[in-house]
Amino acid sequence: MIKNLFTTVFLFSFLLFNSCKNESKPEVSENQQTSKSLVEFATGFDILDHEAYKILSVSQAWPGSKKTFRYALLKEGQKLPDSIEADAILTIPITSIVVTSTTHIPALELLGVEETLKGFPNLDYISSPKTRALIKAEKIEELGQNESINTERAIDLNPDVVVSFGVEGENKSLNSLQRANIPVLYNGDWTETSPLGQAEWIKFFAALYNKEKQADSIFNSIKDNYNSLKKEALKAKKKPTVLSGAMFKDVWYLPKGESWAAQLVADANAEYLYKDTKGTGSLSLSIESVLDKAQNAEFWIAPNAFESYQSLKETNDAYTQFAAFKNKAIYSFAAAKGETGGMLYYELAPSRPDWVLEDLVTIFHPELNSNKASHFFTPLE
């Protein structure tokens, strides 16, 4: 329970960005003959294919990062020209990988390379049944050590690459791995602000396995699904008002107007009551101000980790004052858990925004075909 709460706060911390987005899409490289993978929505990374080598660049490893990491990907027999500098050099396709965030798992599974996953810190967080089967078969090593990676085990495992979510500052353990000649790549998928942008990070992993074409087609189908759902939603007659979040200690955290979550609500053709707030992180509000503005919101989604009306009531009586509480119109993703308690939503939602959108459209506009099974969101008990 505490772990989940912490992860909730942790995720909300993810959404703490500064609004300064000074990275526009990277320019085409010097060489006329290069073709780059089309990275349409994601602004945090890019892939430049120079024929003789590929450069995977990550410009937003963490929010507000001023440093762009460049990773050189070389096929068998290729060599990096001396004039090119890179933060890490890899030979692709890789055969073994260590990732550090559950958001990396869906990409691996979609590309069909989950068996190359050799280690992960805090295995219990992983929800996906496919990967859990591998864990049960003891194919994936537990690499968690307190807040970081167990250096000794990771070195012993000797993976081709370690993909870590970027954190500002230093990580002693990752530094040790780099010194041991294990390439470390920073993955900034969680800094993306648009739903499709985050899903597009599947191409980041695809580049490591030479599966760009596969990633393109997977992403395109997600994109098409997403866009058709968006169009569907516009057919709805009403645009309901929506509230999100809940209190942690005495502060109510909810997504800001330009965040990933807010965009999804907008694309589901609903009126997120805080859609006019600027920024992509979280708002911290008092219960009074939320009651004042959102008491009559028709729908309330994602009340942190609460799973029942009873627990909401027991935690704070003020929750019962909301219209959505009285009308039983609260929907949560907290019930969707993996076998060992991991939150499926945190793991899978970033990669499948179309499924999230589908859930939201079904919730907000039941008249538009409500026979779809829910992926993440279920009514609160």
Binding site: F6, S13, G64, Q145, N150, I155, D156, N175, A180
Partner: protein
């Protein structure tokens, strides 16, 4: 101690057989490369760091206890580790709290530099004050006040920081001997040896100081000079060690007492080397335990040093019924 050193590098998260370890040390290249790296570049630096940390802090603690004639003094009584903590707090927590962007720092050296700057700042102020204050006791109190002040500033920074930064800061404050590169170790050794040489150069004066400042003066000790050297030696040892491995509690305070009770000695020519050995042994032992060999989690070294050390001190005091100081 040699035995403990060997045990320390033999145990860890990954099971490496003793035979392989011997081969690796003898330079045999045929052993699995990952294991070679683990032993030579992870465990041995860690063990050496443990030895330096334990002995350095113990000697620093001994000097502080004699200088201030206070059994509760330790290497951090001047506020050195508070200064280091403040430096690191600014570095880790300052980002969002103060709106500072991450400074361009060579990778991995950020916390070390921040901690060193913090310690150095406190050292400078302490030396400045020491030259103006005659009474050693006043210096002690000033050091304690620094501790409170910096702790307060850190708590303000922490109040405005997001959870993940707080967690990183907290984990730094738990202390960690692992993940230290050879480059870092070499610089640490340099500081360590300078500190130790200074400490040993002042051993004779420490004996005179056992009689108090006035008698020491009449025995030929230059109070200003000795105090200066003691303060600098302590600060270099405590400051550099804190910068590289984080603040390690207890060792500097307890080992001198353990040694005094065990050897019933007052002569610093006995106590100093005994503290070097005792401190190193304690630290190696605690680190071996903290690694929780064969478990995937590990315990913070600070907790282990206190959990092991405190009961030992209590037992010794009860047995002897009297604090020899």
């Amino acid at each position: 101690m040699i035995l403990l050193f060997v045990v320390n590098i033999a145990l860890g998260s990954v099971l490496i057989p003793l035979k392989a370890i011997i081969q690796i040390i003898l330079g045999d290249d045929s052993v699995k490369e990952a294991w070679q790296y683990i032993i030579l570049d992870y465990r041995i630096p860690k063990a050496l760091a443990a030895i330096m940390t334990g002995s350095g802090l113990a000697v620093a603690g001994l000097m502080m206890q004699t200088l201030f004639k206070n059994p509760l003094a330790g290497p951090f009584v001047l506020g050195i580790s508070s200064g280091a903590s403040l430096g690191v707090a600014f570095f880790i927590l300052g980002g969002s709290a103060l709106g500072l962007s991450a400074f361009v720092v060579p990778n991995g050296w950020g916390t070390i530099l921040a901690a060193s700057l913090g310690s150095f700042a406190v050292l400078s102020i302490v030396l400045l004050v020491a030259s103006r204050v005659r009474d050693a006791m006043a210096l002690l109190i000033i050091g304690l006040m620094f501790g409170s002040l910096t702790a307060a500033v850190v708590s303000i920074l922490a109040y405005f920081s997001p959870a993940e930064e707080l967690q990183r800061y907290m984990f730094w404050s738990f202390g960690s001997l692992g993940d230290i590169s050879w480059d870092a170790l070499i610089i640490l050794s340099f500081c360590y040896f300078i500190g130790m040489i200074l400490a040993f150069s002042v051993t004779k004066s420490l004996n005179s100081l056992l009689l108090g400042d006035h008698y020491a003066q009449t025995l030929g000790v230059s109070l200003q000079k000795s105090r200066f050297i003691i303060l600098i030696a302590t600060s270099i040892l405590a400051g550099s060690l804190t910068a590289f491995v984080g603040p390690i509690a207890f060792v500097g305070l307890a080992v001198p007492h353990l040694i005094r009770q065990w050897f019933t000695a007052s002569n610093h020519w006995t106590l100093m080397p005994a503290c070097v050995l005792g401190g190193a042994v304690l630290m190696l032992f605690c680190d071996t335990l903290a690694q929780m060999p064969l478990f995937e989690f590990s315990l913070p070294i600070n907790a282990i040093t206190s959990i092991i050390g405190a009961p030992v001190v209590i037992w010794l005091l009860i047995r002897k019924k009297k604090l020899l100081f």
